[in-house]
């Protein structure tokens, strides 16, 4: 039987180039504040993490020169970007587009894993809990970013829509198709 592959867009090269030189501390701080906003809007996400609500995770977009270290800290998350390997109980690696697609429920995590687009290392239970918690939260990072931007909500939405069209990255949550 044929094995159709999941079409995963490439991360734009300028983004990777920028992240080679940009200072990571302010980016980490912004992402921490952003993740705390998401946490306030989605408390169920951390309940679903259960025993792993205080575990540290490494998310490695393999087409970017950084990794993202996420500490959920039971609803008061912290994000640190680093150009090193990062440290955590579980490491999930894959193209940025795959990781964003997972967050938005556009891709099935197991299918990405079977096709080896996604690599899981360390505590598989922790990685599974994170995957399931995020899948259930039905996050929309574009909407969260717009809300986070306050008075700049509208331009942020327009910017995200433009970026999504230009790059093919899944930056918003696709609507569930109601077919019946």
């Amino acid at each position: 039987m044929s094995e159709p592959q999941i079409p995963i867009p490439h991360c734009p090269a300028p983004l990777a180039a920028a992240l080679r030189v940009l200072p990571l501390a302010p980016l980490s701080l912004s992402l921490t504040m952003f993740s705390r906003k998401i946490a306030r809007n989605n408390p169920g996400l951390f309940q679903r993490l259960g025993a792993y609500a205080r575990a540290d995770f490494v998310l490695d977009p393999v087409d970017l020169p950084i990794v993202l270290c996420l500490s959920p800290d039971n609803g008061r998350p912290k994000v640190i970007l680093t150009r090193g390997r990062g440290d955590g109980v579980a490491r999930i690696s894959g193209p940025l587009a795959a990781l964003l697609g997972l967050v938005h429920g556009a891709f099935d995590g197991d299918a990405l894993f079977f096709s080896r687009d996604l690599v899981v290392e360390g505590d598989t239970g922790a990685a599974l809990a994170l995957r399931n918690a995020v899948d259930d939260a039905e996050l929309d990072l574009a909407q969260e970013a717009a809300a986070f931007a306050g008075p700049f909500s509208r331009p942020v939405q327009q910017l995200v829509a433009l970026a999504e069209r230009q790059t093919g990255l899944c930056l918003t949550r696709p609507e569930d198709a109601t077919i019946w």
């Binding site: 429920g105 096709s115 599974l128 899948d135 198709a177």
Partner: protein
């Protein structure tokens, strides 16, 4: 009558996706050891179950709750409580496997419809009729080890509705009796609700070669570019008598989509999709595919060509025992 599509939901979001995608029925479980998919981050707390049932019923879908592990002696209250909470949530049926729990439910909750889980491994008409006569079981989920003619023979000898797996993970063992995972991890699918628990799974990749271990035992090694398997023992690669291969079953998924017409002729009532551990994306895609198939069958159209291979373990599929001669 159109065949009933019974879909998995590991989370409330997956349940909503299944309902929107056209599931006639969704099955799920509480977030504890009472169900056979007791995985991290999965399942429903009591409030989520009530909301999920209300959502499904508003959209015309049914909800079944799997309480299909085997209670530990002395801790039966956990399982009894799950049955009571399922009934008070308004679920349409509970899926049970344990004789004692079936007896308790029949006596304490006689108005609650009872289905027999695949975990009971009921594979012949005599035992199915026993469950019906003794505990009022209305439907049985058949083990994934029967051929289509065998299923037809069972249906000819029982009034109990039959439900068969048509897609997803392929368990080739006598379900509810298998102890392979217990030997490797100390945790049992039958008592703890976890077959090959993620907490005991370890992946290491070196220069493209991926090793998958369960409880420290190497179960699979695949080369660069080959599909990644999940390290379940029954689909592991073993060396025995100078031969190396998948002793019991290959790491593949079941897909009996094209057999749906034959299953209908065999008297099957409902088609079950495996995968409560999978994402809402998987649920939506598989449900849409199978709903389209049964609707095409009902309308007399040809079966649509499925596109589900990439969702499958090993990215390969089989019709399992339905058309297979076992090794």
């Amino acid at each position: 009558m159109v065949m009933e599509i019974v879909c998995p939901a590991g989370t409330p979001a997956a349940l909503r996706a299944a309902v929107k995608a056209g599931a006639h029925t969704v099955y799920c479980g509480f977030n504890d050891e009472t169900n056979a998919r007791n995985f991290p981050g999965l399942n429903f707390n009591r409030a989520e179950m009530r909301d999920a049932v209300a959502f499904a019923h508003r959209h015309g879908s049914k909800v079944l709750v799997a309480i299909n592990t085997f209670p530990r002696a002395g801790d039966e209250a956990i399982w009894h409580c799950a049955v009571a909470d399922a009934e008070s949530s308004g679920v349409d049926a509970v899926i049970l496997a344990d004789l004692g729990l079936l007896d308790y439910t029949a006596r304490a909750h006689p108005g609650l419809r009872r289905h027999l889980s695949v975990q009971a491994a009921a594979a012949n008409a005599d035992v199915i009729n026993f469950y019906a006569d003794t505990f009022g079981v209305k439907r049985v989920v058949l083990p994934r080890v029967l051929s289509v003619p065998e299923i037809a023979a069972i249906n000819a000898e029982t009034e109990v509705e039959t439900e068969v797996f048509v897609f997803g993970g392929l368990c080739v063992m006598a379900e509810g009796r298998c102890s392979l995972s217990s030997y490797a991890t100390g945790l049992s699918p039958n008592m703890n609700g976890v077959c090959s628990p993620a907490s005991h799974v370890d992946y290491t990749e070196d220069q493209g070669v991926l090793d998958a271990r369960l409880g420290g035992y190497l179960i699979h090694r695949v080369n660069k570019g080959e599909p990644a398997p999940y390290p379940t023992l029954c689909k592991g690669c073993f060396t025995a008598s100078d031969k190396t291969g998948h002793l019991f079953e290959d790491p593949v998924s079941l897909n009996a989509e094209q057999l749906i017409p034959q299953l209908q002729k065999a008297g099957v009532t409902a088609l079950k999709i495996e995968g409560r551990q999978r994402s809402k994306s998987y649920v939506a895609q598989v449900v849409q595919n199978f709903r389209a198939a049964v609707d095409a069958l009902e309308a007399g159209r040809s079966m649509p060509e499925g596109m589900l291979a990439r969702l499958s373990e090993g990215q390969a599929m089989t019709t399992g025992a339905y058309k297979k001669t076992w090794r």
